[in-house]
Amino acid sequence: MGKLQYALFTGCTAKESTPEQLMSTYAVAKKLDIEIIELTEASCCGASHLQDYDDFLSLVLNARNIAYAEKHNMTMITICNTCQLNTAMTKHRLDSDAELKARVNKKLAEVNPDLQYKGTSEIKHFLYAIIDDFGLDKLKSLVTTPLSQFNIAPFYGCHNLRPSELQAGDNPYVPTSLDDLIIACGGANVEYEEKNKCCGFHVELQAPHTAAVLTGNALMGAIDQNADWMVTPCPLCHLKLDTQADHAGKAVGRELEIPVLHMQQMVGLALGCSKEELGLKHHVTDVNFV
């Protein structure tokens, strides 16, 4: 197998709100000898909100981002579930509708005559790039610090699972990818009902009580099944589960304190990356076990 190369679409959150996730993405890629080219030209994916106001504009934005990955002739990787959903949905719609694709390309040409969406690049979340392309057996062989003393609760995040026809192959009802990754890192995966449920992020501003209850349910589910910490591939879920834990605890009437790590941080720990490389000091709930 040649060296894996990807075009990274960071999304906004990893750049601004969860820089530790971006740092740890690079740290893990370095350990796994994966080459990453960051799409610095890329814009926001629309965050599932722009679509409400202008569907066509969101298609153009996402097509533009994908077109930059196509220029590199590489698979695009995402590190945010919502970016993954929006780019994958755009690709799905443009690849199945030639007329829409032509309209989008006409708009793109107005911005930059060299830019065209062709549909040649695959789009996958970094989680699935590690599992499908790099391989869990190979990852396992590189683990230097097995996480064997930890019970780790996976939290998948909706937009990596549903709608399933746009996603990498996890069963939306019984996903296994993150569990498999935990096991490959030497940890014990925790089974709990909320692992494939919603964290509430997308109604944080509109319906704060609903959002807090959903976050609270997820944290309670993991804590009640004796998880030492949680892990998620989505920075939006991470924002809810980590920074909003106190608020969520008040909504469900119980103190909820459990460290929540990004998927990349967990892999980085197993591969022997340092606390600094993984940005573990950025968490609201202290990562006190490293």
């Binding site: 106001y53 549903r162 709608p163 449920k197 919603c198 109604v203 609903t210």
Partner: protein, 238 residues
Amino acid sequence: MRVHIKRFSLDDEIKQESVTYELEAKEQTLLAILQEIKSTQDSSLSFTSSCRSSVCGSCAMRVNGVEVLACAYKPKDGDVVEPLKNMPVIRDLVVDMDKALTCNTKAAAFSSKNSKNIALSPDDEKVNELQSDCILCGSCYSACPVYESNENFIGPFALTRSWRYVSDKREQDVDQKIEAIQKDGIWDCTLCNECVPVCPQGIAPKQDIMMLRSKSGVMGHIDPNMFGGGLDFGTPTF
């Protein structure tokens, strides 16, 4: 083959128990198995059903935590069958759908009296053909985490039906219908997509909610809760 059924009774006090039934293994639907249990093993087992062909939506229930139509699902050994979530259980697998159904009224998800009597072209029909297929089985309400945590939430199928009428060119009261779904409606959806894979008709209520949000935005509405409703996105110029 064994099937575990979570049974509920409200006769004296609320009771819940899981009862295991042994059956001969053969290729048949869950509804056929429930009928066999009722006629040969336990006549007190309660469930609802009617058409036996995935058209009426009355036999929705959960198997191993996932919403299914009993008349379409083929059970496996060890399956756990239980009633839909987020609705009061009347007995065993029978739930009270009244509250969910009144959401249709709350969302004004019906054809208005003064809708125009004009012919639709085949293309016009395609616009909301899929949404018209909703059979009100309640699977999406059972799967919805927002309906679970906010009892006032209008919920998935009522919003899908709202889009079905809002997108109908004969409809005259679009303003009122859009107004009706602003509070505890489209903006409260977390976009989690739980309602999509459980729909036996292949409808995507979340997508319809996105369409209603888009329509609301175009009509000048913004999320009533966001920043106290005072945020002005301006008029898009692209």
